[in-house]
Symmetry: C2
Subunit: 149 residues, 2 copies
Amino acid sequence: MKIGKREVERRIQHFQDVCKDAGVKLTHQRLEIFREVAQTGDHPDAEKVFQGVRKRMPTVSLDTVYRTLWMLNDVGLIRTIGASRERTRFDANLSDHHHFVCRKCGKMIDFAADSLDDLHTPDVVNTYGLIESTHVEIRGVCHKCASRQ
Amino acid sequence: MKIGKREVERRIQHFQDVCKDAGVKLTHQRLEIFREVAQTGDHPDAEKVFQGVRKRMPTVSLDTVYRTLWMLNDVGLIRTIGASRERTRFDANLSDHHHFVCRKCGKMIDFAADSLDDLHTPDVVNTYGLIESTHVEIRGVCHKCASRQ
DNA sequence: ATAAAAATGAGAAATATCAACATATATCAT
DNA sequence: ATGATATATGTTGATATTTCTCATTTTTAT
């Protein structure tokens, strides 16, 4: 999936505004790294982003890609998929429960909610595979991180 | 959060049944590793599980912990939180969309679904932090992995 | 244009995860 | 219970991923 040119421009404009507000400097590297993520419909990992940016900016370093991606995550311009800044974690509780995840520190809190337990899954998902479980992930910033601003 | 003794026993019984069905051998190590995950309400990583099991079984190896956790995941006794068997991935699409994730290969498919876009979030979650987004993660086994049985 | 603050690149280091193989153990048929 | 067989374990080493340090460069505000 590729994102339309118009939409990419819109995202980049937004990116520039947010950088200014957050007081982070607008460098070539950051712009190109953000562009790379913004124009992809996929969910690239750092290495993939690095490869893409490198074509247009051969001197960029992998470390800058990492730093920039986490910075973009911190200011809320992109988000991570899955465990944030942590290693793989395991859970033996297979019954219905849901998660609140802090975007800053990765802290995860379980909660139960009957209203979220029996969601209607769209038919199209059945064409992807056999469904085993459904759960809701709520993302945001935990109080501790919010107050440490 | 600690899990009740009764519930842990129930999970272990289930573990033994599933191992038998799946034709995997029931070893001390596996039992202790499963017990460790089953009695924790947290979402431990492999290292954490290793530390816990080690207290009761000092000779266990970290690698066995890894192998066992993935085995337990493969037979569906536990699940991973977040990206399965992959590196951190990033997404610039902050608008509403949801994910189907294959438990075996980690493949992730985006889908849109109006019916899932405006879920009612329980009040308790507001006490955890500031909510920014909500999305649904549907887990299962993709067709490719299912047919490769 | 200049100074101050922040970002970058390069390479090294730390961390996490996985693989190979020789040895040990569980399971199953007897 | 016993022994054969397939599978699991521990050890060690390799690989992959992510972060750190610091000298240099770039951006931003003046």
